[in-house]
């Protein structure tokens, strides 16, 4: 696509009849998003027990996060995530116990040893760079990392992400401008769940993020982040071209926020029951489960077995992290 193009291809088709993702990929995705689900469930309990000071649930975002990591190369590509991305850490291979040690701010938390707030994962082995809690400040360092990789002659990609609210920050505009002008391999993934805490998307901009980015000459795409087919059709080819030096890409993924902004927020104060019901109808885990049953990839019993096994593994790791020192 021309650097000057203002086209912003939209791929929001979500028909489960279209079977374009290999079954093994669907099952891997399903296993991993279930892992995230049971991590979130346990974290909610620990938060209610007063053991966790801050929780930003990734429910509704787990598919776009896990799914994107599955298209990238862990340990080779670089990650500059934001605060609602424990699914990124999990999909990259951060041990579940380490996720809980960090969320619990315990001695031995490998992300920061209790210095950074929960939800800010870091690992040098995983090329997962420590974040601040400020919205949108990760974009410019991500561009700098891509500049370093280009100078090194590497084909690695830098993943950087935020919600749609942080895309209103000036640094976002500066970052997409710089990445585009130097054709740096940055994958901007904007996860649009419609809310910046309580502020709805139409209060951020009258335009749309993928259109704004396209105005900078940045090839930009609009996908349904709750439905893997949409991402799977759009992204792998773009990622391959990025490795060959085609420059940055922006993906705006439509997702749902199934839980409140954080453990300090109550979304029922500003979202109606009807709206929340509609959001739950797009629950990415439920959609994949429906797909799996429809195409008979697994039976109900097999799903139950898989869920129980994953939940038990997550809880064992959580117990270990929560346990007192020996």
């Amino acid at each position: 696509m021309s650097r000057k193009s203002k086209e912003t291809p939209t791929n929001l088709r979500s028909e489960p009849e279209r079977r374009i993702v290999p079954d093994a990929v669907v099952l891997e995705l399903y296993r991993k998003i279930l892992g995230v689900y049971y991590i979130e469930e346990r974290l909610k309990i620990l938060t209610r027990q007063g053991k966790i000071s801050f929780l930003a649930s990734s429910r509704g975002h787990e598919k776009v996060q896990v799914g994107t990591v599955m298209m990238l190369k862990p340990g080779h590509d670089w990650f500059f995530p934001y605060y609602r991305e424990k699914a990124i850490a999990y999909a990259l291979g951060m041990p579940v116990k380490d996720i809980f040690l960090h969320m619990l701010s315990r001695e031995g938390d490998p992300s920061s040893n209790g210095r950074n707030m929960p939800e800010h994962f870091s690992s040098r082995e995983l090329n997962l760079v420590s974040q601040t809690a400020c919205t949108g400040t990760q974009f410019l360092p991500a561009v700098g990392m891509a500049k370093a990789l280009k100078k090194d002659g590497s084909d690695a990609i830098v993943y950087v992400s935020s919600g749609e609210g942080a895309a209103s920050e000036g640094e976002f505009a500066e970052a997409i401008n710089w990445a585009t002008r130097e054709e740096l391999s940055v994958l901007f993934l904007i996860q649009n769940n419609g809310y910046a805490i309580s502020v709805p998307r139409n209060a951020q901009t009258t335009s749309e993020i993928h259109r704004i980015a396209a105005g900078f000459g940045l090839p930009s795409y609009h996908v349904d982040g709750t439905w893997y087919e949409s991402m799977y059709e759009t992204m792998p080819g773009l990622i391959q071209r990025m490795r060959e030096g085609s420059g940055p890409v922006l993906i705006e993924a439509e997702v749902v926020r199934l839980d409140s902004h954080s453990s300090s927020d109550d979304q029922t104060k500003y979202r109606s029951d009807e709206e929340l019901k509609r959001a739950r109808e797009r629950d990415p885990i439920m959609l994949t489960e429906k797909y799996i049953l429809q195409h008979r990839l697994l039976s109900q019993d097999e799903i139950k077995g898989m869920r129980d096994k994953i939940q038990a593994e997550v809880n064992a790791a959580a117990d270990e992290a929560d346990a007192a020192p020996a």
């Binding site: 315990r106 700098g144 710089w178």
Partner: protein, 361 residues
């Protein structure tokens, strides 16, 4: 039967909360006497340019960008002149965007490079303050020593160039309030070269403040030390030995103090590095002269002088024969017209008046 008490979950062990704010690879070493390459003097602009050239030749990981820094212009003050011609792939103009200049530098440093970037006027650094306050200096600390971000940010600062409120600011105190940075503020060509070379090899973020009035000023010209001369951070310099009172200062006001040094028999200390500050050189001098005044070009209120005074009060109380005084800019913005700029910025007359008070006390 009593249940055994459940042991408490382990919180991170306190006791080392300031670990990883700075690297262990600190740029502290014994300062050697410089070997000069010539009897001739050079300007501060030339000294900085030569330091950058030498360090770029030595370290291929050094990269630079900023507004207008590429040749043929080579920076609005000419500090980087000739460097793009030497290293076209490593020195480039940036977009006119200060958050980008420092933020992209931060990312490239994470990737193993050594960006030395220029903010054309310190007054314009504020879009980059988010990165310079929250991202860059916290990285090593917040990741418990896993990551580091050793950028050098050069800024032209200071007044008396008829620059008005937005080309004259001194910013050392605002930046010094954020841990994680080394802050350097040289007053002459020799120091500028020696300190820039240290900055280029530091393992931590360095804010390098260059007083634009001194870039080509005759008083700041001095001999050029050779390529091996580095000045450690945290070491001040006694510019004149004296007995009546100590004046602690840095940057352009070093010369204001020197103007009155003979008249009052002053000991004039040039701090050279703001963070870390050379407490020892200050305390030793105060213990000798028993009277001290801090002079700086930045506004008095919560200027770096406030910190210097507090440290003297805490450590030299028994040695003081008079209250510690401060001379600095009025708590105003710097005006454009010369008559008004003179009114705002600290003058020789302001210093003479306060020194007279200090010595009569």
């Amino acid at each position: 039967m009593r249940q055994p008490m459940k042991p408490m979950p382990r919180q991170p062990e306190p006791g080392h909360i300031t670990a990883h704010i700075y690297s262990d690879q600190t740029p502290f070493f014994e300062e050697k006497e410089p070997a000069y390459i010539s009897e001739d003097t050079i300007s501060m602009v030339e000294a900085l340019n030569r330091a950058l050239r030498e360090e770029m030749e030595r370290n291929p990981k050094i990269v630079m960008w900023g507004e207008d820094i590429a040749d043929p212009k080579g920076g609005v003050f000419g500090v980087t002149r000739g460097l793009t011609n030497l290293y076209p792939d490593r020195v480039q103009n940036s977009p006119l965007a200060e958050a980008s200049i420092v933020g992209v530098a931060g990312g490239m440093a994470i990737g193993g490079y050594k960006p030395i970037v220029e903010i054309q006027f310190a007054d314009y650094s504020w879009p980059g303050f988010m990165q310079m306050r929250n991202e860059i200096p916290t990285l090593r600390w917040r990741s418990n020593g896993t990551w580091s971000d050793p950028v050098v940010v050069r800024m032209a600062c200071g007044g008396r160039i008829k620059g008005g409120p937005f080309h004259s600011q001194c910013v050392e105190a605002i930046y010094a309030h954020t841990p994680g940075w080394y802050i350097v503020f040289p007053s002459n060509a020799t120091d500028a070269k020696g300190l820039m070379k240290t900055a280029a090899r530091a393992d931590d973020p360095v804010l390098f403040l260059e007083h634009k009035r001194l870039y080509r000023h005759i008083s700041a010209k001095s001999r050029e030390p050779n390529a091996d001369y580095l000045i450690p951070f945290g070491k001040g310099k006694i510019k004149r030995h004296g007995n009546a009172a100590t004046v602690v200062t840095w940057g352009a006001t070093v010369y204001t103090a020197l103007e009155l040094a003979d008249e009052f028999d002053l000991e004039v200390i040039d701090l050279r590095t703001i963070v870390p500050m050379d407490d020892e050189i200050v305390f030793n001098s105060v213990k000798k002269t028993n009277r001290v005044l801090v002079l700086h070009e930045d506004a008095v209120m919560i200027g770096w002088g406030a910190e210097v005074v507090a440290r003297i009060a805490a450590n030299c109380f028994d040695h003081l024969d008079a209250p510690v005084l401060r001379v600095g800019a009025k708590d105003s913005f710097v005006a454009s017209a010369v008559s008004l700029e003179d009114e705002v910025l600290p003058s020789v007359e302001d210093l003479r008046r306060e020194l007279t008070k200090l010595l009569r006390y």
